[in-house]
Amino acid sequence: MAEERKLGISRENHTKSSSGEQKKGVPDLRTTIAGVEFKNPVMTASGTFGSGMEYGEFVDLNRLGAVVTKGVANVPWPGNPTPRVAEVYGGMLNAIGLQNPGIDVFMERDIPFLKQYDTKIIVNVCGKSVQDYIDVVERLSEEPAVALLEINVSCPNVKEGAIAFGQKAEALYNITSELKKHAKQPIMMKLSPNVTDITEMARAAEAAGADALSLINTITGMKIDIYKRKFVLANKTGGMSGPAIKPIAVRMVYQVAQAVKLPILGMGGIATAEDAIEFLMAGASAVSVGAMNFVNPYATVEVLEGIEAYMKKYQVEKLSDLIGVVE
């Protein structure tokens, strides 16, 4: 881990470290997060891609830098009542409530499914108590095929307080340092945008030993049906995602990249390669396509091809030459 952490520390160095091998003219799309090398920076946002089974019908999972799975808990969660989703201007609200089959089924079904593909596996871990998270993290330690753990401390739709870990710096520090004791894989803390100062949260995670950060999770929103005079979502509020939130996400990725040395997985409304490159230039080492998978099931691969085309057109040799270059 120590070695991985060290590699993870600079967003600029680690991709360079290996890009030499690439052949001339072909852009080197590889990127590294916390010492884990990915063949390209295009990943999936947790909860929008299941464990890849559904979108495997549309895209070749082998093309992806990584599949970030739907959040998994120590036991099965039924999630929230319906309606769980609603469309909003330029995006959507969701209040799924982290429905998941639990770690046992996940280990027996989802991991073996993903192992068939030449893509990295990042597992999103959720829980209601620190112990819940520890249980899942320890089970996942048995599985070397899991490259990275994304710790979901920022789901706005679960009452039991998971979000509290993501909105109070001290709580985030505590759960991060606790999980570092139990995790074999590097851990990436997924930050909530529903905070006054995202850099304070990022610093807390870094200080506690986090290996990477992913942001942003969804922004809490609400939709009212004025004809029924009712909340559209059974949960009243839901997490907003989609192109509408992109400027907020890019701003937060930039602020965090300025504040800490940890590598960042950036996301929030990415629909096109241009969007993805905005996140890279803001300081993300990789990007996730989320809600836009629902709008365009081929979005991940189209974003990947668009980044490659941009790099060719503007003679960008390697991805690391785009990361954090905005001035």
């Binding site: 909860g47 929008t48 891609f49 299941g50 559904e54 979108y55 019908e57 549309f58 739907k70 099965p76 969660w77 039924p78 999630g79 319906t82 309606p83 769980r84 989703v85 609603a86 469309e87 201007y89 330029g90 995006g91 959507m92 969701n94 799924i96 429905q99 089959p101 639990g102 089924v105 559209v232 989609g242 192109p243 809600a291 836009m292 998978n293 629902f294 709008v295 365009n296 099931p297 081929y298």
Partner: protein
Amino acid sequence: MKRKVTSKVISQKEISPAIFDLWLETDLAAEARAGQFIGVFPKDKSTLLPRPISICKVREDGKALRIVYRIAGQGTREFSGLREGDEVQIMGPLGNGFPAEAGLGKKVFLMGGGIGIPPMVELAKEIKKQSDDNTVIQSIMGYRDADTFLSEELGKYGEVFIATEDGSVGTKGNVMTAIREKGLEAEVIFACGPMPMLRAIKSYAQEKGIPAYISLEEHMACGVGACLGCVVKTREVDHHSHVNNARICTDGPVFEAGDVEI
């Protein structure tokens, strides 16, 4: 296999106030069956999600689909403006569809309410196609008023009984009132419509001890089973979710009434 494709508008007409009948040229039709639906994508980028609309008819050559929908918001309003030759993005075929075979050799109720009526057309067609002499199709359709869209067409496949809320045509009331009033009987039910109607059908079927295949609706996002947005509570633990939730978009939209808590 599910795909997102560009389809071409063959024709569209308003067959009843705010209800549109749209024929689309698409090879997705070759794989489509009754009870399945397609996701139709608005062009305007402020409305991003696909609109789930059930398939009303599949052209014999498998090269065109027909959907009949009601204007319910900005997306469907946009669709209502589509003209012959226009292109529209669609995804499908989605969902499991009705088990038409369960109707063969039986007395069948096709029960539809409002905008739940369209899928009954393709279902009637499919059952009729494979049916033998013992198969009897009776369509019981519930409408608000005298705008009894698609009822004539359903007549081609069997007897049609109409219920209207305002009593302007057929039985005054809903589909349940109609079957009681007419003393109709069946061995299997296929239904699509508003939740109160489906609940009534579920208890009726249980009381009669016959199977009822009902098509459910719910707010959807991905339409392909990934987001877990559109679930329904299930009696048994679901094979996929491992909780008592099934995904309407993929495990459904058609369920045997006894399997779901509605």
